[in-house]
């Protein structure tokens, strides 16, 4: 099966020549269809630059990025790539174009030249998936942050993409907005089979992914299933990142010779492990 995203020796420099700031250096990464990849790293680690390479908003200075086999530097593929890999951005206000929800969702298909009747169907389907159909006539500025981001997701879905790239979509939201967005994203991945690349610095979101990629200084420093990545508590801390409190607790307990498996990420699992340990004593 062809990779959804294939990055080979990708480097990216901002600015010209040697003085240019290195944002990505020699990234090798392959993401398969259907994966849910969380990319974490502190601000300036290169995670957003990486995301923008996945739909040709940025082009590599050296190396190649293939989206379903299409080279992002080949301008003939530009629109096919952007239709395949849709993107949702951080600031919900700055990605809505129209003055009504349904008009905004229609923006992508309109650009693709989809016939009017089909746009209608797509807008309805997309708004229903993100549970925003009843707000179809609302003005965007009267929605909550979480609702705006779900409309933005619908706007991408209406283009019928195979992958969804989310560039810190929850950074500006309150906890309930974050939950709304994450529930939607998880559902799209599990039920619709959409490949998800989710950029975030909230660890409780990374835990939901099937794979976590940790970036630092423009490089991939850790890459694996969440349980594995979050077992490196100290390393993550040194990179300026959090781990879930129960994961930290497990790590701290193991320093006191309490033997717990590494990579405990959830409250339920931690409770089970402690109870089991106690019963053995």
């Amino acid at each position: 099966m062809a990779a959804m995203f294939q990055l080979d020796h990708v480097s990216h420099h901002y600015g010209e020549g040697d003085e240019g700031k290195v944002a990505l250096s020699d990234i090798n990464l392959s993401i398969s269809p259907g994966e849910f990849v969380a990319v974490i790293g502190h601000n300036g680690s290169g995670k957003s630059t990486l995301a923008k390479h996945l739909n040709a908003l940025l082009l590599p200075t050296t190396g190649t990025v293939l989206v379903k086999g299409m080279d992002t530097r080949d301008s003939d593929h530009l629109w096919a790539i952007r239709q395949t890999a849709g993107m949702v951005f951080q600031n919900p206000d700055n990605q809505m174009v129209a003055t009504a929800v349904e008009e905004d969702v229609a923006f992508g298909p309109e650009n693709l030249g989809v016939p009017t009747a089909e746009i209608r169907q797509r807008v309805e389907a997309a708004l229903k998936i993100v549970d925003m159909w009843e707000f179809r006539a609302a003005a965007p500025h009267l929605l909550s942050g979480g609702q705006k981001q779900r409309v933005a997701i619908a706007g991408v879905l209406a283009m019928q993409p195979e992958a969804l790239i989310l560039d810190e979509p929850t950074a500006m939201l309150d906890p309930s907005g974050r939950r709304e967005v994450m529930d939607t994203v998880v559902r799209l991945n599990r039920e619709e089979g959409i490949t998800v690349v989710h950029i975030t610095h909230f660890m409780e979101e990374a835990v939901l992914a099937s794979r976590v990629v940790v970036m630092n200084d423009g490089q991939v420093v850790l890459d694996g299933i969440p349980e594995e990545v979050f077992s490196h508590v100290r390393k993550l801390r040194s990179l300026g990142l959090d781990v879930p409190q129960v994961t930290e607790l497990a790590q701290r307990l193991s320093e006191h010779e309490v033997s717990l498996p590494s990579g405990i990420l959830t409250v339920e699992r931690m409770v089970a492990e402690i109870c089991q340990l106690k019963s053995k004593m």
Binding site: M87, N91, V97, A98, T99, G108, P115, I119, A139, H141
Partner: protein, 266 residues
């Protein structure tokens, strides 16, 4: 709250006026304005007034809304009235010191003021019964034939849409920055003009910076959604002329013809 301000004061509804194609309404409003300036006779004015009131009834809008649209221009009308009263030469009716009110002045003043009122009333009927989106679409369609002579119809419409979309956002932001600077002791309310103008810098600079940042991010987001200009674009809502639109345009044409006749006869 600033963000509660409704845009273009559109009042949703299902009246005949609401259902007309926006193009019909824009063309109709233009014909109406031309007719208004052609008319000269008292009978003509009476007729177009009755016609306008009939339009208000057709719109099924509450009178309070319609009258609220006139309120802002009330002083301008009053000013026009007074100016014409005193400054038009003619037979003196009434005198106060050096100021003379002439019969010609009264006639002209009332006509001018009345014309202004009807003008505002009819254009506010247009914005009250058409959503901003519909108006933008209408303007885009109407400008399309002029594309060949270099009128960027799609781009203009897109700019209007984005402006409408971001006005509430920027109003809200203005409110926020103003408060943030007031919390740092800024004073936007007192002082002479120079001091006040200087006092706007802490508000305007952040506002511009933010507007540019938003524009930049929006451009990226639009590109990511495959926006590449108006070429080959389709629309969620296509505009279609219905029977009522042809009727409305016919009525508008009759209005225009009658006005021309009125002009020639008087």
């Amino acid at each position: 709250m600033l963000k509660d301000i409704t845009l273009g004061q559109y009042v949703p509804g299902n009246s005949l006026l609401h259902r007309l194609d926006p193009r019909t309404k824009i063309i109709g409003a233009m014909i109406y304005i031309i007719s208004l300036f052609l008319l000269k006779s008292l009978v003509g004015y009476a007729a177009i007034t009755i016609f306008t009131l009939a339009l208000v009834l057709l719109s099924a809008l509450p009178w309070s809304y319609v009258l609220r649209g006139i309120r802002p221009v009330f002083y301008i009308v009053l000013f026009t009235l007074v100016l014409n009263f005193f400054l038009t030469p003619g037979e003196t009716v009434w005198q106060l010191g050096p100021l003379k009110v002439t019969d010609e002045g009264i006639r002209l003043g009332i006509f001018m003021g009345w014309r202004l009122l009807l003008l505002v009333l009819s254009t506010s009927l247009l914005t009250l019964t058409s959503s901003p989106i519909a108006l933008t679409d209408g303007i885009e369609y109407l400008l399309r034939p002029f594309k060949k002579i270099g009128v960027p119809a799609h781009e203009l419409a897109m700019m209007m849409t984005i402006a409408l979309r971001f006005i509430p956002t920027l109003l809200e932001e203005t409110d926020k920055i103003m408060k943030a600077q007031m919390a740092r002791g800024a004073d936007f309310e007192t002082g002479n003009i120079v001091k006040r103008a200087r006092g706007m810098i802490p508000l305007l600079v952040p506002l511009f910076v933010s507007a540019f940042r938003r524009a930049d991010e929006l451009a990226t987001a639009m590109e990511a959604r495959c926006y590449r200009g108006g070429e080959g674009r389709t629309r969620l809502k296509e505009l279609h002329f219905a029977g009522r639109d042809f009727m409305a345009l016919a009525v508008s044409t009759i209005l225009l013809v009658l006005s021309v006749v009125d002009r020639i006869v008087s």
